[in-house]
């Protein structure tokens, strides 16, 4: 028996956004979270005694202001430790390239590159505006003549048209190609090209020459429109976002139960009937919202046998291979990067000397191997937020690409070897850093999959590529948050527009549910 209007499977950040909006619409919402805490990829975890780190997402780059406002997150305790951070492309010789807003510094960057970047960035922002519009509503279906969908399509078309002929042609041309070619067209400096192309491949299974990386880059730049002129860091790590969201949800009347893994989403004759927990406890309900990724939702929770063959095919075709690992280090002191000012140490540090280096790093993962020289996106959060480690000590959180889901023979035989590769690489840029390491933790794609319940370990719950975005996300038949099972909705990163701690998938899903099911 149940007294809830909505049962939500998983309490990630998108789920919290969705639950909050549903509760505000007058519904009684119960969230069932398998983990010990809510928040999903917005999490802070102590990985060594006294040392905490953002255990999945490490930067806030694109949280929608609509989510911030509607959930009153600041009122619920959300604080920034730093905003609009610079991106520093590290050089072994200490002549680093710094990207601060639209300004480039250091590394003998030429005036041409500076001008070219300003022009490029402005053009990308014009493109990004069109995306941001499309992201703020459900993805339109193409064939059914629904008024709201037509309006969205008209707006999209109009947005393209208003770009003017040159920009429109350029967007249509580059959206299908790759960051490598676009960078070659625009810039000279190898590290500038690598730094920007990295933004197109973060979290993905793509190298600079992979198609779809331009879309990945634009996706990330949507953050600029949301007020992020560079990455931001939350006080207390990304878990602070989860805490504020949980507080906001609780204030709205949402009930959240952690440590309660849902074992199945139950359905009868194509209509959802409730959920069953691993403990055997059952909740019945006609409205179930899944915050977990589509593969987990359909393959493991609903079960392929309860779906039609075409749906099963679509789900099993979802590309969700990740190549991303996380490295967490506890340090006895602040590492010293050659030539890097103390102030910049707290900014985003990137190791990606040139695009071929990044492409070679990607090559490995195609063959289920890890990069011998990976690319890295490094955060030393304790510079801006000392509370994460004991006094005078520090933590490092780094995105490391690329690592396969399963290297030959399994991760057990490779974990230390890959950790050593990454530490040796860091040592080249920050001599002496190995001596500071007092604890380390490597989260492979497999670990991320397990800890955050994401099939494949993909932080977007499925590759962000043109075959899997908009009306194709996660697949035809589940592209407007509703699914082939009546009463079952999706609200996670696997849905339009995608992940990246943006919150729009959850917000759009809530709006769609309210529209379809009616006001409570």
């Amino acid at each position: 028996m149940t007294d809830y209007d909505v049962l939500m499977v998983g309490a990630g950040h998108n789920g919290l956004v969705c639950a909050h909006a549903l509760a505000k619409s007058g519904r009684k919402v119960l969230m069932l979270e398998a983990g010990d805490v809510a928040g999903g990829c917005a999490a802070t975890r102590e990985f060594a005694p006294g040392f905490s780190v953002s255990s999945c997402a490490q930067w806030l780059t694109q949280l929608s202001p609509r989510v911030m406002d509607s959930m009153s997150l600041v009122d619920h305790g959300l604080q920034f430790a730093a905003r609009d951070l610079a991106s520093v492309s590290l050089a072994e010789d200490g002549d680093h390239l710094v990207l601060r807003g639209a300004k480039l510094e250091g590394a003998n960057i030429s005036a041409e590159d500076q001008l070219a970047y300003e022009d490029f960035s402005a053009r990308m922002m014009r493109f990004t505006k069109i995306l941001a519009k499309a992201f703020s509503t459900r993805a339109p279906k193409l064939v059914e003549s629904n008024f709201a969908d037509r309006l969205t399509l008209i707006k999209l078309g109009l947005g393209l048209k208003l770009l003017g002929k040159n920009d429109m042609n350029d967007l249509m041309r580059i959206i299908l190609i790759n960051m490598y070619d676009v960078m070659e067209e625009n810039f000279d400096h190898p590290r500038l090209k690598a730094l920007l192309s990295l933004d197109g491949m973060l979290g993905s299974h793509m190298g600079p020459r992979s198609p779809n990386t331009v879309f990945g880059y634009l996706y990330r730049r949507v953050g600029n429109l949301f007020g992020y002129d560079g990455p931001a860091q939350l006080r207390g790590g990304m878990g602070a976002l989860a805490d504020a969201m949980v507080a906001s949800c609780k204030a709205a009347g949402v009930e959240i139960r952690c440590g309660e893994a849902v074992a199945s989403i139950d359905s009868e004759a194509g209509q959802v009937t409730g959920v069953t927990l691993a403990s055997g406890e059952q909740f019945s309900g006609k409205l179930v919202v899944s915050n977990v990724d589509p593969v987990t939702t359909f393959q493991y929770l609903v079960g392929y046998r309860n779906l039609e063959t075409g749906v099963v095919r679509s789900v099993s075709n979802i590309r969700n291979k990740s190549g991303t690992a996380k490295l967490h280090l506890a340090l006895s002191g602040l590492p010293s990067f050659a030539g890097l000012s103390a102030e910049l140490t707290g900014h985003r540090l990137v190791i990606a000397p040139d695009m071929n280096y990044a492409e070679r790093a990607f090559n490995a993962v195609k063959y289920s191997e890890y990069s011998k020289e990976p690319v890295m996106d490094i955060s030393i959060p304790t510079v801006n937020d000392p509370g994460l480690a004991p006094d005078g000590q520090h933590v490092i959180s780094a995105i490391v690409q690329f690592a396969p889901h399963e290297p030959e023979g399994g991760w057990d035989g490779h974990r230390q070897a890959f950790t050593d590769i990454v530490l040796d690489l860091l040592e080249r840029y920050a001599p002496g850093i190995r001596g500071l390491v007092t604890a380390s933790e490597l989260l492979t794609p497999q670990d991320l999959e397990k800890e955050f319940g994401m099939t494949g370990g993909h932080w977007h719950h499925g590759e962000l590529s043109l075959d899997q975005v908009m009306m194709m996300r996660p697949f035809h038949g589940a592209n407007q948050y509703s699914t082939p099972v009546n009463g079952l909705y999706l609200c996670g990163a696997g849905s339009h527009p995608g992940g990246g701690v943006m919150g729009l998938a959850g917000l759009n899903a809530a709006n769609e549910i309210i529209k379809r099911v009616g006001a409570a």
């Binding site: 039609e308 063959t309 099963v312």
Partner: protein, 393 residues
């Protein structure tokens, strides 16, 4: 069995005997296999089916084996019928649909034993069958090449087969399966067929195919047994109102244009759809169709005159309301039959329509507007088709 090069059609395990019997040397391509359109004379072959015994090599028919603990559950999700009602040693006619409720194929399901089934289908179906197996503990294998099959059809078929030594065959009920020993090899016999008459299908290992053919024709000689080809089969199946995939409907996976596939309701196969089953491919779409109404209706037409209404438009008050998909002058029923798909709401039993028939004699084209009428049931449906024990005609 493979062709000498990839452009060459495959031959069936009976090929040496078929080729020797095929006096017309008129061959066709049936899903990659070379098969006779006729052997001696189409009319004679047709009358063998209707008056004595006709034999048809159906080895090219797609055959798929489904085994494992979830075999029944798997099939129940795959097809529109309730598989649990097809008992062991029984055969069921069925269709299967895609998610849009459009027919992928029709065929038969043989319940061979516990958790053991065979699907016989017109279209090559292995991809769809394997995709459908995700999430089920089943093994799905194609066995088209591993099983040789003959259809033995007509009033004296039971007598001919009993003369070959299949004692007790007369007791086999329609859609039943029985096993016999054939020279140390298992011979499976099902009382099934595509002619609408008393008849059987024989299933055996390819190595025994030629022996089976030889002994069957030797034993059947007194019962006037003759091989028949595709064209005679076509006459017989139209006469008895059986639809043919690829002719009366296009399998949904093979259609390219929107709206060219058909649902089971639109093919007159409502009786094969069990909407009470909680989950099966196409259920949601078929429920929708049920409430929204179908686009087309399948009809058997009695067309005036003796000109077969092949490819005719069907008119109502001069307006086109449908097309003929199959047509033949049917000698036994002495009826000019057409199978047609009519736009709703046309096709109610008894409705009178007009078939616009074009025919030519020495390049002289003539148009006939032949009145026609929607029949309630097929024109050929003899009691002996169902009679058990089968009588020794």
């Amino acid at each position: 069995m493979a062709g000498a090069d990839e452009r060459m059609l495959l031959t069936t395990p009976f090929h040496s005997r078929v080729a020797a019997a095929c006096e017309t040397n008129c061959w066709g391509n049936w899903k990659g296999y070379t098969t006779p359109n006729s052997y001696i004379d189409v009319e004679l072959e047709y009358f063998a089916i209707r008056s004595t015994t006709g034999v048809f090599d159906l080895s090219p028919m797609g055959k798929y084996r489904v085994t494992g603990p979830d075999a029944e559950a798997y099939l129940n999700r795959l097809i529109t019928r309730d598989v649990s009602k097809i008992r062991e040693k029984r055969v069921g006619y069925t269709v299967w649909c895609d998610d849009e409720g459009q027919v992928l194929d029709d065929g038969t399901i043989f319940h061979l034993g516990p958790n053991d089934y065979r699907i016989c289908a017109y279209a090559r179906a292995i991809d769809w069958l394997l995709w459908s197996a995700e999430g089920f503990d089943v093994c799905v294998e194609e066995e088209t090449q591993n099983v040789a099959a003959l259809a033995v059809q007509g009033p004296t078929s039971c007598a001919a087969l009993m003369a070959m030594g299949l004692s007790g065959l007369d007791a086999l009920k329609p859609f039943g399966i029985e096993y016999f020993d054939f020279e140390g090899e298992q011979l499976m016999v099902s009382r099934t067929g595509f002619t609408g008459d008393l008849g059987y299908e024989l299933w055996i290992a390819p190595e025994k195919a030629e022996d089976l053919w030889d002994r069957l024709f030797a034993a059947g000689a007194p019962h006037i047994i003759k091989p028949f080809g595709m064209e005679a089969l076509e006459m017989a199946r139209i006469e008895t109102g059986f639809i043919q995939a690829g002719v009366d409907f296009i399998p949904a996976e093979e259609t390219i244009r929107q709206g060219r596939s058909r649902s089971p309701f639109e093919l007159g196969l409502d009786w094969l759809v069990d909407l009470n089953k909680p989950v099966f491919n196409g259920r949601k779409a078929l429920l929708d169709e049920k409430s929204r109404g179908s686009r087309y209706r399948f009809a058997i037409l009695d067309v005036a005159g003796n000109k077969p209404a092949n490819n005719s438009f069907i008119l109502k008050n001069g307006k086109q309301v449908g097309v003929v998909t199959s047509a033949a002058w049917c000698p036994t029923a002495k009826t000019n039959v057409a199978l047609a798909q009519l736009e709703m709401p046309h096709g109610a039993i008894g409705e009178e329509l007009v078939a616009e028939i074009y025919y030519q004699r020495e390049l002289h084209w003539t148009k006939v507007n032949a009145p026609c009428k929607v029949l309630e049931s097929p024109v050929f449906d003899p009691p002996r088709r169902r009679q058990t024990p089968a009588l020794p005609y």
